[in-house]
């Protein structure tokens, strides 16, 4: 691929992000604008912003790469990423909005009336956020190396710098517009090239090189346990992601939080058709891309491989732009929510605390990214979902639906899930992909029930610690918000 074209695409996305961020800043300037954003952000904008933030490197590059490698087994990833939002809708969307909490630690503190719970939740949330940023930086490193030939670290560092600059300058205010723009950019950047490729292939009548059922690398197919465990992680991991909750805060009430989630589901469903199409076309017409050992770059290389020439270059540039939109939007969403948590709980509130926290939240994962190697992006993001599902998910679900939860139970459960799942991740990282047994490689199926069990048992044993505010909080979480007098 022409490196100049890829660089131009990269600069283009960064500039567009900055310009839209500035536009958003200009129209929302006051404290009132910030909090009343709930009244002015329409569901479609909000849903696009959620989609923009959620569709990360794993969705944009990783899913197609994994489908290329392991075929229909990998289709569980996009299904799980989408169905995770269904679970979010069913179990947490409206109650979380009604709680009025801005971050997950806010929620647990309000529900359990306990500072220690807040501290533990903050710790877990920061860990989740950092773990989630690392694959984004790996994706950026891979993209830069493949498309421009520059050293990998340039990609990660570029993402961190752009994110730090936008977050430090604009904070939360302009993010909604940027994220919404980036959803549509990502969708276009995937849809246009693959439709063009299919059109060209159909026009030239070229025969497939390999049937889709043939695995180009000969990796053993995942067993039933692995698929089930993966689905557990994806279904229950989504509802604990720190950057997702903030977005629900900008809905005016619980019912509109539900409606926004419905639109998000539609947007995600449409989006995931395209990585699936890339995977299938890649398997049939360009199986060689998997053998090169960089399956994650398949989306970037396919237009050049199958179309070529100037058209291929232009389509590749579009895909590179979309990929960078994915790295930037997810990373900045995570950095904003992490900075909120870190500045409140460690550095003290205030704008300067927030800025310092933002820089810390972005630079620490950069260190992780340098120390670790990128293997399948969708797989490493899947592990982060497993960690979230074993820690944040039980405390949210039990906190919302069970009156018996206590602070001691919540802390014990989160620590259990975190230690078990984190331990499995560390052992798996040292043992290597090939030698890790299935139950360690996909730990969610046993770590999530373990965390739930410990949380329930310890809460039962410490029943006297159920907070006095419990029934008031439960009422607020579940009752519709409009005052009765003005109803209908």
């Amino acid at each position: 691929m022409n490196p100049g074209v890829a660089l131009a695409a990269l600069v283009g996305v960064s500039v567009a992000t900055a310009v839209i961020g500035f536009y958003g800043l200009r129209i929302s300037r006051t404290t009132g604008d910030f909090y009343v954003a709930s009244r002015t952000v329409r569901p479609w904008w909000n849903a696009s912003a959620i989609g923009g933030e959620y569709l990360s490197a794993a969705s944009f590059l990783g899913v197609a790469g994994l489908i290329l490698l392991s075929g229909t087994d990998a289709l569980w990833f996009p299904v799980g990423y989408t169905a995770g939002y269904l679970m979010l809708l069913l179990f947490v969307a409206a109650p979380l909005r009604r709680s009025g909490a801005y971050t997950i630690p806010d929620f647990t503190e309000a529900r359990l009336d306990s500072r220690p719970v807040r501290k533990v939740t903050s710790l877990v949330v920061v860990l989740v956020g950092w773990l989630y940023i690392v694959p984004q930086l790996h994706g950026a490193a891979l993209t830069i190396r493949i498309t421009t030939g520059l050293p990998s670290w340039v990609g990660s560092v570029a993402v961190v710098i752009v994110v730090c600059l936008t977050v430090v300058a604009g904070g939360m205010r302009s993010i909604t517009f940027v994220q919404a723009f980036q959803y549509w950019l990502k969708l276009t950047a995937l849809a246009v090239p693959i439709l063009f490729i299919i059109f060209v292939l159909a026009g030239s009548g070229s025969a497939p090189l390999a049937p889709p059922a043939v695995n180009p690398t000969g990796v053993a197919p995942a067993g039933l346990y692995q698929n089930v465990s993966l689905l557990v992680a994806l279904l229950f991991g989504t509802l604990g992601l720190p950057h997702v909750l903030v977005r629900f805060y900008t809905n005016p009430d619980g019912q509109s939080a539900r409606r926004t989630t419905l639109i998000v589901l539609g947007l995600l469903s449409v989006f995931y058709l395209f990585p699936t199409a890339y995977g299938l076309v890649g398997r049939m017409f360009a199986p060689g891309l998997a053998r090169a050992g960089q399956a994650d770059a398949m989306v970037l290389l396919l237009p050049g491989e199958l179309v070529g020439g100037t058209a291929g270059d232009l389509l590749s540039a579009l895909v590179v732009a979309g990929a960078f939109a994915a790295f930037l939007s997810t990373t900045s969403g995570l950095v904003v929510s992490l900075a909120g948590v870190i500045s409140q709980d460690v550095l003290g509130a205030g704008v300067n605390g927030f800025r310092l926290a933002a820089v810390i939240s972005a630079v620490v994962p950069l260190g992780f990214a340098f120390m670790t190697d990128s293997f399948a992006l969708a797989g490493s993001v899947g592990l982060v979902f497993a960690f979230t599902a074993s820690t944040v998910c039980p405390v949210l679900l039990l906190g919302i639906w069970w009156r018996g939860l206590t602070d001691a139970g919540a802390i014990a459960g989160m620590l259990t899930g975190g230690v078990l799942c984190g331990g499995a991740m560390i052992v798996g990282a040292f043992a290597g992909v090939a030698t890790t047994p299935g139950w360690l490689a996909q730990p969610a199926a046993w770590t999530v029930p373990a965390a739930f069990a410990v949380m329930v048992i310890v809460s039962r044993a410490t029943e006297q610690r159920i907070p006095k505010t419990m029934s008031k909080v439960m009422t607020r979480l579940h009752t519709p918000e409009r005052p009765l007098a003005t109803e209908r």
Binding site: W76, L90, F91, P483
Partner: protein
């Protein structure tokens, strides 16, 4: 034009409207709230279980009916269509059904609370 710093505290949940809670503090009010929570939880569990059953039925269908996975529809193997496209409408439909019924549960709760 000057920029204004956002100064409202971001910690902790803000108290809900007074009117909302006044009607709910009584014992009867709490009974209504409990029954609302129970019906919302039941609804969420039913929708989730239904969705998971359908999700599980898809690969089962492919495994049980021989040759179905490889059958081509417009050049695309059926297994890919089912798992890569067919599941999304099921997700959307489940979500839509849930939202409708959840709103109905809340409307019923409001009627009860008003009559009180």
């Amino acid at each position: 034009m000057t920029r204004v710093r956002v100064t409202a505290p971001r910690t902790a949940a803000r108290p809900a409207k007074e009117t909302r809670e006044a009607a709910q503090d009584s014992e009867v009010g709490q009974v209504f709230v409990r029954s609302l929570i129970r019906s919302q939880l039941r609804l969420a569990l039913v929708v989730a279980a239904g969705f998971l059953l359908i999700l599980g039925a898809f690969p089962l269908l492919l495994a049980v009916v021989p040759g179905l996975a490889e059958t081509r529809v417009a050049g695309v193997p059926f297994a890919w269509l089912l798992l890569g496209v067919g599941i999304y409408p099921v997700i959307g439909l489940s979500a839509w059904l849930y939202i409708r019924t959840a709103a109905r549960n809340e409307a019923r709760y409001r009627d009860l609370a008003e009559d009180q």
